[in-house]
């Protein structure tokens, strides 16, 4: 019991983190700020991945849905001269409706099929973006019109950064509300014990579908957001490799940390790859090696290491009863993912 209270009072770091994030544009130049804008975008993607992991479904179509958001917004602005702000709800709608069509086929077939079907979908979708003339082909769309607020053109990095922060905080707020509600409880239950949850009357397929579609909505928002700072949309940005990086962010940050894990992972990996700009071709190798090492020696990520350190120090200080750091409640035991999935014993 004491341990649970310890972690509850452990949220104090949110305040300095928030202040630091707000103050950031005053310390770094426009170029550096752009990197942090990327961090925000990747955090949004990783958060959506983490959301779906909560119900025991790893997804590899993250980048594809991100692309759906970007293309919907970009195309509406280009072809229909629509205001950027109007395209936001439309891109969410497109992503959710299309997502419903795709996932109502795959979610009910279990984790394995969901995962693989998502990859096949991502492949097909990228092909569509690349080959259909309407979308501008593999070279990308034409120059996008600038995003405006009234007559003000939104091209100052600082305001784009703040827009991103607002989006991120909105995202986190929605997740927090969801996780604390009955819906979130059902999600965690599905993630840590599929059969048990369904024996208690939880509609596994329905809740999983809802979860994946919430993820889709936020991915589309992230896609629309990327339109703000991109001159054009290039289909290869939204490929399979990007989805893989998203997964690495989550793992490096810490699988058990619903909110902080993805953000820390995106921050750390983006900063690492940015610091290696001189030797960019080595960057995927370094990322890969870091990921392998993290999986082998710190399976619950950087935050997992941090937490276990903090816990062990605090335990020594308070000499409370011996307790290991919690293994993430969102994920449950990862072993249970395979053990229960009937997809496996086909």
């Amino acid at each position: 019991m004491r341990r649970a209270m310890l972690f509850k009072s452990n949220k104090w770091w949110l305040i300095p983190a928030f202040l630091l994030a707000v103050a950031l544009p005053f310390f770094v130049g426009a170029y550096r700020l752009q990197i942090f804008i990327f961090v925000i975008t990747y955090s949004l993607l990783a958060l959506a991945f983490q959301l779906t992991m909560r119900v025991g479904l790893p997804r590899f179509d993250v980048a594809a849905w991100w692309g759906v958001g970007a293309y919907t917004s970009g195309m509406l602005m280009l072809k229909a001269n629509m205001s950027f702000w109007l395209t936001l709800p439309i891109s969410v709608l497109v992503s959710v409706v299309l997502g419903f069509a795709v996932f109502s086929v795959s979610v009910r077939r279990g984790m394995m099929v969901f995962m693989m079907f998502g990859m096949v979908f991502a492949l097909a979708l990228q092909q569509v973006f690349g080959s259909v003339k309407f979308f501008g082909g593999w070279g990308g769309t034409p120059q996008l019109p600038p995003v405006t607020i009234g007559s003000y053109v939104l091209n100052d990095k600082m305001w784009i950064y703040y827009l991103g922060m607002a989006l991120l905080i909105f995202n986190l707020g929605v997740y927090q509300l969801l996780y604390k509600s009955r819906i979130g409880r059902a999600w965690s239950a599905i993630g840590s014990g599929l059969r048990l949850a369904s024996s208690l009357g939880v509609n596994v397929v329905g809740y999983r579908l809802a979860n994946v579609l919430v993820g889709n909505a936020f991915l589309a928002l992230a896609g629309s957001f990327s339109v703000v700072y991109q001159a054009m949309i290039i289909p290869t940005t939204y490929g399979f490799q990007q989805s893989i990086y998203v997964m690495m962010y989550v793992v490096i940050g810490g699988l058990g940390f619903a909110m902080a894990g993805p953000i820390v992972g995106a921050l750390v990996l983006t900063l690492i790859s940015e610091s290696m700009r001189a030797a960019q071709q080595y960057q995927p190798i370094v990322t890969g090696v870091i990921t392998v090492l993290i999986i082998m020696f710190a399976p619950w990520g950087l935050l997992g290491v941090l937490r276990s350190r903090v816990v062990s120090v605090l335990q020594r200080l308070l000499s409370s009863r011996a307790a290991l750091p919690d293994i993430p409640s969102s994920l449950g035991s990862p072993a249970s993912v395979t053990a229960e999935e009937p997809g496996k014993d086909a």
Binding site: R185, S199, N203, D326
Partner: protein, 254 residues
């Protein structure tokens, strides 16, 4: 009309016939024991009733309704819940959170309300918590509510499994070896609780290895052997049924 009825229920895994042409009828308010040697197909029967396995042949009827191909969560919603044989819990959540998942069905307030945490949703949540605490109190583990489920002793883990099933407000409760691995005191307490569960009007089917418990608690007993019904009757009848004795003794010799 019987509460639960299976007609010609069969399940085979490859060549192995785990359950063969089982006709089982359980009346409202009964406390039925289901026994049999290891591998007699008792757990498979539970899986078939609760929708975890799809039968190869045969049907399951609950309150006059065919529930043979109904998904597991719908069956739970209709009022059949089960406690699993192994300690199958949400190990990384607290005891209270575990039971709250059991209250999932009764605490519904509508997705939007739940998301926005409106007053009605919070009220439902409070009700669910109160109910969960009541059930934990009934199971004698209210003092453990904030402990992580993984830290419980084996006996309490079994109790928690039953508590979760009870939280679903079942009409029919299936208990799969609830006292296995318990010490005599815990076991006696559990037996007492099963009696009290039944007094609340919940029909119970009990799969149990310990003959003592079954003979002590159940009014009617069904004996399974190799997936088939071997005998059915009062405990006293079962005890002196030559077929049953043979099935059990034969097992020991082998």
């Amino acid at each position: 009309m019987a509460l639960l009825e299976t007609r010609g229920l069969s399940k085979s895994f490859g060549r192995l016939e785990a359950v063969k042409d089982l006709d089982l009828t359980v009346e409202q308010g009964e406390l039925r024991g289901l026994i049999g040697p290891n591998g007699a197909g008792k757990s498979t029967v539970f899986n078939l009733i609760t929708g975890f396995d799809v039968p190869t042949r045969g049907t399951v009827w609950f309150r006059g309704e065919n529930i043979t191909n109904v998904p597991a969560h719908k069956i739970a919603q209709k009022g059949i819940s089960r406690a699993f044989q192994q300690s199958y819990l949400f190990m990384f959540s607290t005891v209270l959170e575990n039971v709250l998942v059991g209250c999932h069905m009764s605490s519904r307030a509508g997705a939007l309300r739940e998301f926005l945490h409106t007053r009605s949703a919070r009220m439902r949540d409070r009700e669910a918590r109160n109910k969960a605490m009541e059930i934990l109190d009934f199971m004698g583990m209210a003092h453990l509510a904030d402990e992580p489920a993984s830290s419980l002793s084996h006996g309490y883990q079994r109790c928690l499994g039953v508590a979760m099933a009870l939280a679903c407000e079942p009409t029919l409760l299936l208990l799969d070896e609830p006292v296995t691995g318990m010490n005599p005191t815990e076991s006696a307490e559990m037996v007492e609780r099963i009696r009290r569960i039944r007094e609340k009007g919940i029909t119970v089917i009990l799969v149990e290895h310990s003959m003592e418990v079954v003979m002590n608690v159940c009014e009617r007993i069904t004996v399974l052997s190799y997936g088939q019904k071997l005998a059915e009757g009062l405990p006293a009848e079962i005890q002196c049924n030559p077929l049953v004795v043979e099935a059990y003794l034969g097992k020991e010799e082998a």
